[in-house]
């Protein structure tokens, strides 16, 4: 694949690994924020190739993992009790709610559909005027423009039976939450390239200054990741802290102005609960009051009990990088992809599932 294979070249990878090995003179702990980066690190076997001095810690950037239990229960409730057509991205379906997942709701007779674009949900709403259609709008800044656009489209076309159940989360407040945790020992960050492609890099300057940590906006392919890691390590070795952009072929400093405009038009920032982490101030998007007719939270009166998480799941510690997935006593035992205790074991981007799928048995193998 053009524009991808260049970043998966074994020789280039070997050169970067050498360079990282030469540069790192002492141990460094770096967090890759985005679940896509975690997935790529393990899928390509990069974790084992990195020198011991560079310890990668997986961040909270998996939208499936941080969507609160309560929101999933709400989606299930809407599908089961309100008879809506509940549309969602695929990997949300298997995430366990307190009683069931959306996949189980589907099996129990609810109309749950997997879509790749919320615009498709607007189309379904138009084709089913007698039904309410709800899109489970989950994700970081990356999926926000498409979700916002679906609301604008519905409004413009006068589609009244469409709404979104928002559970949007934002990256910079999550980085802050990680840094504010006393148990955290992160020394540098790989920021999520695709998020920055949308919203730009400006928000990261204050973080770099406040916490005096290197942040490198990084892509997702093996060469991207290694280059990003090298850039962080170089800064750390020199005692510097700067914002750098490894992913400049995609990320412009100002982001994507059109996408930002759409987000600003439809959403405003709000406090948000993160599964496993808790409430983070101003860390999510919700619909502006003028779009409240499209807000499933307001449209439907969902009164369900808030259930607490499984006490055995240490997802919060994993998401903040304080524990590694395999350090959880339930990892691979009670908690497995087919019977997950917490969300990070569900999505392929979830740190626990990524570990389970790709490297769970590497020690035996090595």
């Amino acid at each position: 694949m053009k524009f991808l294979n260049e970043y998966r070249d074994a020789d280039v990878v070997a050169q970067y690994l050498d360079e990282i090995r030469r540069t790192a003179t002492q141990p460094w702990t770096i967090m890759e924020v985005c679940g896509g980066q975690t997935h790529s690190l393990v899928k390509n076997g990069l974790i084992q190739l990195l020198p011991d001095k560079v310890r990668m810690v997986h961040g909270p950037g998996c939208p499936v993992c941080v969507t609160p239990l309560h929101q999933i229960d709400k989606a299930v409730h809407l599908a089961m009790e309100h008879g809506v057509i509940l549309c969602s991205y695929g990997d949300m379906l298997r995430v366990p709610g307190s009683k069931m997942s959306l996949l189980e709701a589907k099996a129990a007779g609810a109309d749950v559909r997997i879509l790749y674009s919320p615009l498709e949900a607007v189309k379904i709403a138009r084709e089913n005027p007698g039904k309410e259609v709800v899109f489970f709008a989950v994700g970081f800044e990356t999926t926000a423009p498409a979700n916002a656009l679906s609301v604008i489209h519905a409004q413009r076309a006068g589609v009244g039976n469409y709404s979104i159940l928002t559970s949007h989360v934002l990256v910079p407040p999550a980085i802050e939450a990680v840094m504010n945790d006393d148990a955290s020992h992160i020394q540098g960050f790989l920021a999520a390239g695709h998020v920055c492609a949308i919203v730009g890099i400006d928000e990261y300057y204050p973080l770099v200054e406040r916490y005096k940590i290197p942040v490198v906006v990084t892509g997702f392919e093996p060469v991207d990741l290694l280059q990003g890691i090298l850039m962080v390590v170089r800064q750390l070795e020199k005692g510097e802290h700067r914002l750098e952009n490894q992913y400049s072929r995609i990320v412009r400093p100002e982001g994507n102005p059109e996408a930002r405009k759409v987000i600003a038009q439809v959403f405003e920032t709000t406090d948000r609960e993160w599964r496993g982490i808790g409430n983070i101030p101003m860390s999510g998007y919700e619909l502006r009051p003028e779009f409240s007719a499209y807000d499933a939270n307001k449209k439907f009166n969902v009164n369900i009990e808030k259930v607490s998480e499984s006490a055995e799941c240490i997802a919060g510690l994993v998401l903040k990088g304080i524990k590694k997935p395999h350090e959880c006593p339930q990892f691979g035992k009670k908690c497995r992809p087919e019977s997950p205790l917490g969300a990070p074991m569900v999505s392929s981007e979830g740190a626990c599932a990524a570990y389970y799928h790709f490297s769970q048995a590497m020690e035996e193998v090595a």
């Binding site: 390509n44 190739l49 991205y89 990997d91 790749y116």
Partner: protein, 355 residues
């Protein structure tokens, strides 16, 4: 003539008969007059052969001395028409190929329909043409069948079951028990093509692409391969549902051996790789049709590869790994960039990622 030209020619040669009904109704499955009218409308003519023409409760035929293979499969695919074929072709090719994986040349198939009320006669006819086309290509006969109709909403247009019998190739010795360390794992063609062709037309996930399903019969290829290599072929498997990863995991589990896979050798069509990338799917877990995995004795591997690459079904064939006594019960992928990872059994269907 290309495959699609052949299909068009068949459509022209077998125009849909003029009927006094446009859609399938419950009565067409009653076994009474309407059922007969449906079958007489051309179904029997389309699939015509002496055994079917008996119109008995079952087919009666002579068998040769030797070993036989018997296989069954049900087809519930959605959508029933997809780029490169339809459920009818799949239903024939699937069972023909399951028999081929046993080392048998399929001879007779049964054909069971469960039709959903409301299926149009046009759709049914096109599916029947798919069956006829696939049966002729594979050189098999449909010798017995059954048609039931369920109420609207109780099915998904059409479900098909086919069962088949075939004679084993005299030199076929295909069994998991024969797989041993040192054996070489080959694949006969590009992976994930069929699954992504289906995905591209599935409601809600449609994307524009030229990906066409590679569904086809594999029996001619497999028989020719057994003629040449016989007992050197230790195991054959078509990696349909769950893809290559699932089949190899089952193999590793059942043989208690390990499998080393070389990512850079696994053939994936450019557009398929791109579509997988976009949807966040791993081609190793995507369903296949029209390809098979062969585990062969090491000394025969290169010749088998050469043979496959010269076969019309095997142009993209490749050696993708080998069986090892190390890391028992595990499939280990050596990534293109030199890393390693365990390829696990998938939990359920792969679900497209958020971002």
């Amino acid at each position: 003539m290309t495959e699609s030209e052949q299909k068009i020619k068949m459509q022209l040669q077998c125009p849909m008969p003029k009927l006094d009904f446009d859609i399938i109704t419950l009565g067409h499955g009653s076994g009474g007059l309407l059922t007969n009218r449906l079958l007489d409308s051309g179904v029997f003519d389309l699939l015509k052969n002496d055994l079917l023409d008996e119109r008995h409760d079952g087919a009666i035929f002579e068998v040769e001395a030797g070993r036989m293979a018997f296989s069954t499969d049900s087809y519930v695919i959605s959508p029933v028409f997809f780029p490169g074929g339809n459920i009818g072709e799949l239903a024939v090719n699937g069972t023909v190929n399951d028999l081929a994986m046993c080392g048998a040349r399929a001879k007779y198939l049964s054909l069971g329909f469960i039709l959903e009320e409301g299926l149009t006669m046009r759709e049914f006819w096109d599916i029947l043409l798919g069956i006829k086309y696939a049966a002729e290509q594979a050189g098999i006969q449909i010798v017995t069948g059954d048609t039931k109709v369920v109420e609207r909403g109780k099915g998904d247009k059409i479900f098909i079951n086919t069962s088949g019998v075939g004679m084993l190739h005299p030199r076929a010795q295909i069994s998991k028990k024969r797989v041993q360390p040192g054996d070489v794992v080959l694949i006969s063609g590009s992976v994930a093509t069929h699954g992504m062709a289906i995905m591209s037309v599935r409601q809600g996930l449609e994307f524009e692409t030229d990906i066409v399903s590679d569904t086809t019969n594999l029996n001619h290829t497999v028989m020719a391969m057994l003629d040449l290599f016989g007992e050197k072929i230790h195991l054959l498997h078509d990696p349909t549902r769950g893809g290559v990863a699932t089949v190899l995991n089952e193999l590793a589990r059942d043989t208690r051996l390990g499998i080393d896979l070389l990512e850079r050798n696994i053939p994936v069509l450019e557009e398929v790789a791109g579509a997988c990338e976009l949807l966040g799917l791993d081609p190793l877990y995507v369903a296949n049709e029209g390809i098979f995995i062969a585990v062969v004795a090491a000394e025969a591997a290169d010749s088998v590869l050469e043979f496959l690459q010269a076969d019309p079904n095997g142009a993209a064939a490749a050696i993708i790994g080998n069986i090892t006594a190390e890391h028992p019960r595990q499939v280990l992928l050596h990534s293109t960039i030199g890393g390693k990872r365990v390829v696990n059994m998938p939990v359920g269907e792969q679900l497209p990622r958020i971002c």
